[in-house]
Symmetry: C2
Subunit: 269 residues, 2 copies
């Protein structure tokens, strides 16, 4: 009898301790590329520019460095706010933070996408994931891993062209999400957001950007040019995607991180 | 005997369920101001500019909006990376994410600072906080609440001057952290980062920026122009501060959020 009480107390103590462990509870993975001269933007956009204002010792004897920067909203690791392709969709400052902080999953289609640059992720790809992992829970942030992250920052292999300007848009070849699968993710699985390791949620050869329209008219944003998706498990991690809060913006630079749940991952180590 | 087993199972079940509850576990508070024409920058800096590229229906029948923006690194809700005032300090892309995600506390000095615009937060203010709340744990992110957030975005009341240019710098009057208290926070309490609701971690009348130098030479970054600090409790929340990842940057726009621990806060509601 006393032994059982002791067991009870010890159990509660250890489980409670786990629940009170220091935040964040897991291994942090940065899913964000740095912004620099190599950062990839759409062929019709200019790039990221950092202008040095000051760097060095001042007359008063302290060191001082400061810069100025300019960039299009859409490029590098960034978010597309719903307003990017939906007139009444939320601007980037209006996206609720609750929609950008959630449990995440990775659907790995790299076997198909690395064979076919024009691959579009289908509902069947998600059903295959569910056969192994169970139904995608409501409120999930869904990452598509095409494997194209390994080409960053080489424009030719990552986008299919390193040309610039309007004519280059027709030469884009990279995988994306099929517009019908976009509807299914939102309507049938009620996901919070979607993201992938290519420049656009629609595949490179898209002309009408159906996945953008289908997601954004339903106020579900997309994260593009994600880094390091290969470091994530299929499930068992949290996502925090915090965009620069541009008033009225259609999107913008976003720092995306994942926290891998140690209680799941470290069991195997 | 059977009852005890049952009690044991039930206890473990409920405590485990808590640990598995959906991320994030708490109420999210956005500590970030939007970037727009009103965003406050230092008197010697230009401001944030958003240029509209496109907004409207395209020939193909879908809506499209995209913008271009430019800004100095330091203004609005942003982070000062150590390199801002320390030659060998980390640039903004080099700050470990572990240093930007931690438990937070608020030290409220608004009673003093709203009476004296030139107030500098002292070691005694932290010791007063500790008398009530216990020792500041190692690895904490420390927020100073001066109360000046209520003046945002009125430059005159927030900064002490709405003039621009070099001469205006001498007219700055707002509270900050005392350089000696900066050393104490890092050396005696081993904090991860510090933040406040004014334009600068040094007070407006500073000429040698001692808190910047003392913090940054120890690789501890500072968060400036934080919003909504009045919505946070003195302790019992987590901080996530994710900067735009500017390669080699001395700082940059940062989305700062707090997650208030429901298990602590909601007990009183």
């Amino acid at each position: 009898m006393k032994k059982l009480y002791l067991l009870l107390c010890i159990s509660i103590f250890f489980i409670s301790t786990g629940a009170w462990a220091q935040f964040p509870k897991g291994r942090i993975v940065d899913l964000t590329y740095s912004f620099d001269q190599q950062t990839i933007y759409w062929p019709t956009e200019s790039g990221f520019v950092l202008e040095k204002e000051t760097e060095g010792m001042t007359e008063k004897g302290y060191f001082y460095a400061a810069n100025f920067f300019k960039a299009p909203e859409h490029g590098g690791t960034h978010i597309d706010a719903p307003h990017h392709f939906a007139k009444n969709g939320r601007t980037v400052d209006e996206i609720p933070l609750e929609q950008l902080m959630a449990e995440g999953i990775v659907v790995d289609v790299s076997n198909k996408a690395l064979q076919d640059r024009d691959y579009q992720v289908t509902v069947d790809d998600f059903l295959d994931w569910e056969k192994k992992n169970g139904k995608i829970p409501e409120g999930t942030i869904v990452f598509l891993r095409t494997g194209f992250g390994k080409y960053w920052p080489d424009r030719l292999s990552y986008m299919g062209t390193d040309e610039r300007g309007k004519d280059a848009v027709g030469e884009l070849h990279f995988p994306g999400l099929h517009p019908q699968a976009a509807i299914w993710l939102v309507d049938s699985r009620k996901i919070k957001a979607v993201g992938l390791d290519t420049p656009s949620i629609d595949y490179g050869q898209s002309t009408h950007f159906g996945s953008h329209v289908n997601l954004f008219s339903r106020n579900v944003p997309a994260l593009e040019n994600l880094a390091n998706l290969g470091e994530l498990p299929e499930k068992g991690f949290s996502v925090i995607a915090l965009p620069m809060k541009i008033k009225g913006g259609s999107g913008g630079p976003t720092r995306v991180v994942a926290v891998i749940d140690r209680s799941l991952q470290d069991l195997t180590k």
